[in-house]
Subunit: 346 residues, 4 copies
Amino acid sequence: MNFCSDNVTGVAPEIMQALAEANHGTAWPYGNDDWTRRIESRLADIFERKVRAFPVATGTAANSLALACMCPPYGAVLAHEAAHVMVDECGAPEFYSGGAKLIPVAGAHGKMTEAGVAAALARWRSSDPHQVPLAAISLTNATESGTVYRPDEVRAIARLAKAEGMRVHMDGARFANAMAFLGVPAKAVTWEAGVDALSFGATKGGAMAAEMVVFFDDKLAESFAYRRMRAGHLVSKMRFVSAQLNAFLADGLWLKLARHANAMAQRLAQGLLRIPGARLRDPVEANELFVVLPAAVIAGLREAGAEFYDWPGEPNLIRLVTAWETDPAKVERFLKVASEVAARAA
Amino acid sequence: MNFCSDNVTGVAPEIMQALAEANHGTAWPYGNDDWTRRIESRLADIFERKVRAFPVATGTAANSLALACMCPPYGAVLAHEAAHVMVDECGAPEFYSGGAKLIPVAGAHGKMTEAGVAAALARWRSSDPHQVPLAAISLTNATESGTVYRPDEVRAIARLAKAEGMRVHMDGARFANAMAFLGVPAKAVTWEAGVDALSFGATKGGAMAAEMVVFFDDKLAESFAYRRMRAGHLVSKMRFVSAQLNAFLADGLWLKLARHANAMAQRLAQGLLRIPGARLRDPVEANELFVVLPAAVIAGLREAGAEFYDWPGEPNLIRLVTAWETDPAKVERFLKVASEVAARAA
Amino acid sequence: MNFCSDNVTGVAPEIMQALAEANHGTAWPYGNDDWTRRIESRLADIFERKVRAFPVATGTAANSLALACMCPPYGAVLAHEAAHVMVDECGAPEFYSGGAKLIPVAGAHGKMTEAGVAAALARWRSSDPHQVPLAAISLTNATESGTVYRPDEVRAIARLAKAEGMRVHMDGARFANAMAFLGVPAKAVTWEAGVDALSFGATKGGAMAAEMVVFFDDKLAESFAYRRMRAGHLVSKMRFVSAQLNAFLADGLWLKLARHANAMAQRLAQGLLRIPGARLRDPVEANELFVVLPAAVIAGLREAGAEFYDWPGEPNLIRLVTAWETDPAKVERFLKVASEVAARAA
Amino acid sequence: MNFCSDNVTGVAPEIMQALAEANHGTAWPYGNDDWTRRIESRLADIFERKVRAFPVATGTAANSLALACMCPPYGAVLAHEAAHVMVDECGAPEFYSGGAKLIPVAGAHGKMTEAGVAAALARWRSSDPHQVPLAAISLTNATESGTVYRPDEVRAIARLAKAEGMRVHMDGARFANAMAFLGVPAKAVTWEAGVDALSFGATKGGAMAAEMVVFFDDKLAESFAYRRMRAGHLVSKMRFVSAQLNAFLADGLWLKLARHANAMAQRLAQGLLRIPGARLRDPVEANELFVVLPAAVIAGLREAGAEFYDWPGEPNLIRLVTAWETDPAKVERFLKVASEVAARAA
């Protein structure tokens, strides 16, 4: 009963199969292979327009490379104060950009709001070279709180950013979960809403180690190949990264896996809310739950072998993450233990 | 008949099998898993001492991270003028170190010599802050010319470097091929000879995307975890990188695969030297051949479907690379075509 | 009546005289001159201990170089959210450190508090390489709000920082004004209180372009000479920077000039508080006033030729800065205009 | 008799006078002052076209900032192997650019040749992201060997560079000496010949600490203000840097001072060549001599109080530098001592 993260899971069988199939004969290295070439056309179908896309192995690399293409060394990037790029990448965006400043924006449930962004812009806008010029904004979708930006929320923030001459990045480590929740065309929450580049994650969604940087503005991609190479992120036997991505994108696998993860999160949420004293910190929209439970319930779950993280912010707050492979039976067992412990404690 | 590079090959069956076996259940991410833990003990057996080791996905990442642990942003790194770190990584060591200067050292057959290093040290040694202080030297073994540093060659260069207070790095993207050629204990050409950190490659040797940074001096490893994370090189589902490395290191697979690659190179070399007008630019010691062939032979080979790179430096110079999977029949065919074309041309 | 900043002023006559006197004959460049050598002994007198000191031409250089000696590229620096290093140096600390993260700490009147720092430490403390390790804290004294840290305030914050293994920097662009206010020995608010390095400013205090980085811990100074050189901050004809600093430090000139500036600020404050509706945002302790005045008074002052900046944060807030050369008659005229306008408006 | 460098000298009286005159009243900081504004129009006269110009305090800052405007972090800069940017700035261009690679080009007498540059371009030209893209070339004029590039030499090299899409920088720390030697319009050896940006030095030529970055292409200047600020090179009381530059440029003072320095070098050269065994390593064109003298003469000169540097490269090679203030009597005395010692030794 491991609900620690979606990165404790393994690789979806369709993707393992694709790796095995890619392992025949020789192939040109560094992305000059058929698997890599196919990615952009699959993405063109999904986003209903031509895109530039580059596979990398990690989400931190995807985010940092994308932001470095958008922000000069002396520029500033706005992001939610709890965003991965802000607090969980050991300064990777600063490293890749050559010293950019990341400016935290507060906002409930992991989301920046139009008003919050407007206030930050008013605070930091300047044409004086004593201040870092505003260069980009990064939205995480689904957010670090398990919530999802709606298209109009993205559009409103992007419009503010564009009016300042800024670029818009979306950290989509869990983009599939966001899309599975939204049920809109992928374009609605990305380029149509003003997003210039997307880190489109596959690893948490069922791949082994595979992410894509998707550019909706060719111009931004100009330096990407050099930046990726000098960061050591140009995998030589690239076909094995791209084969994962092809399988992930083919036949809607990415959405199917994400829908399952989201459904398991909903089931967990509904079950836990029946526990007296249980409370969700945030609406459950994607595949993460931040839930306050009675201390006895938390302890009882751990005794029964459940694994999850305590979460900072308030007492008895835990995080539960579901994934593409979460077994409904595991969810049921978890809920059964929780309600039994709660009943005993009552 | 693709002899372009060892990175055009796929993944060795033992390593694919290890990936499949690792894909069961959940595992702690970011290297807190059993596969990763096992690597250091396997390496301890190979190097006959305790080491610190960190898996990464690419050789450029391994080299750059290792050098960044050895060289301050304002320092200098000596390396052979044709070294991968010097000319084939798009400035990755400069990026990771924060601006270090890479100083090229000439030397025949891809190798720096004791005299060459001594001259470079005399040229660059300074205590004046106008000059970058000498911080590290990087030896590539096997070299970019397919040759191999002997233990006493490494020792002589390392001794000079240590006398300047410099650290010694070995780029071992093809370390297995070097070891297969040398037939000495791994320690003889590494820590016993003065090497402080080794980039130990597996990708070219049969893995999918897996390399190790091996530190023989714990102190150098202190900042590694932070540097790797902020470079986006801490793979979340690390078990799949480490499973490759475990399989590669277990039961001498790494050496077995390298011996085959080297043997194929020898067979190619011996066969080609029978062609009138053929000449090896460098001794063939590992799995690369740099060979001058009559233009007609080169053209004939390509017509017959052989793939390989023309190499800069002199006319009609080509590079042939063998690998863990090179089929002896493919070598025979290549040689047969070459000798037939040569005979026709004569 | 220019109260815009202390950097709109010229050079104190004693310092101009020192420049003229230094302009005889030849002198060794790059700080190997008598003027530069004398600085450390003057500082030893002032701080009652041996120090290492390095002249540079700007405060931003002093701060950034000092912080780069304290914080690795992947580390974090705490500072007040309105600190110069945080918002007015166009990312210089990020540039010099190679990508460090600056973490803002709130606090009234430009000062971090013990509680505020403790909370920030609790928020950011981590041994997980996903988070930037806490490396340094920077206090500005006098602050950007014209207030002054007392020795026990510095000590309390420094003690918290040291307990985390962090280093303590003091941005003393207006250190002289702080010392003139405090009336304690210089050591009391620096090394005795836990400060490891001080940016000791002279430019705002009456020099042309001269600041010192003063290290109270020799170890931190080890890389300074290299970092300064590669930043282009090793002035070749250094005697002319050092001559300024010698004159500034000699015979208590620095304190005398600062006392005058502070006294003029007090006079302004007392006079303005007699205006109905006037309110000081912060206690006036050094040479800056942040004062809310009736809009009519602000307009009337400007009509009369007074120059000062509107300040963000609230309506009708202005900043007034006095300096070493502020003419008491100018202050009186300013106050007279203000009270006349106020009387007319009443 | 100090011939060590032109930076051992003081400040020309006209420039000291200008500093004294600038020291009246208040002035807007950070370059928003009349002195700074006047620089561009003076330069427009000198270069016979509109330019953008930015004062900084050191030559290393000028060079590094200019190159950072021309070369991305992953790019390459060609320069002579003995250029200041290559070997005497502790990696400043690497720091400012964020990791660019400096590629040394050999060439007699401190000068790159058209053939040498063509060969370097052929060696490094690549569209493969494994290699750093060629971004800029930097010519030093006058060179580190005391020689001077002619307009047609600059033009030939610039044409090659432009054909690769590269930018052309001129390090003119001793541009005045070059111009005094050439006797052509300033445009002939700069923008007309293809130079995009010039580091125009005044410090060695008689200023205290003042250099200009002059852009002949506005587009390159776009990021300059931010880069200068975050490097701590935006001097707050800028009028005192700009006053130096105004005096330097006014009424041809820069050329007058440089002509004197060059004339003194010629006198030294002619005098020394009369010493049996004396030999000039390079033609003397600007204000530096690299001369081989009998060991006894070198020793005798030092005994008589002469100061100069031994120079690496060959035995008994010394460097002599003349300057704007070099007293002809000092030159005569030096020559007299030399010839007397030589006579005694004969």
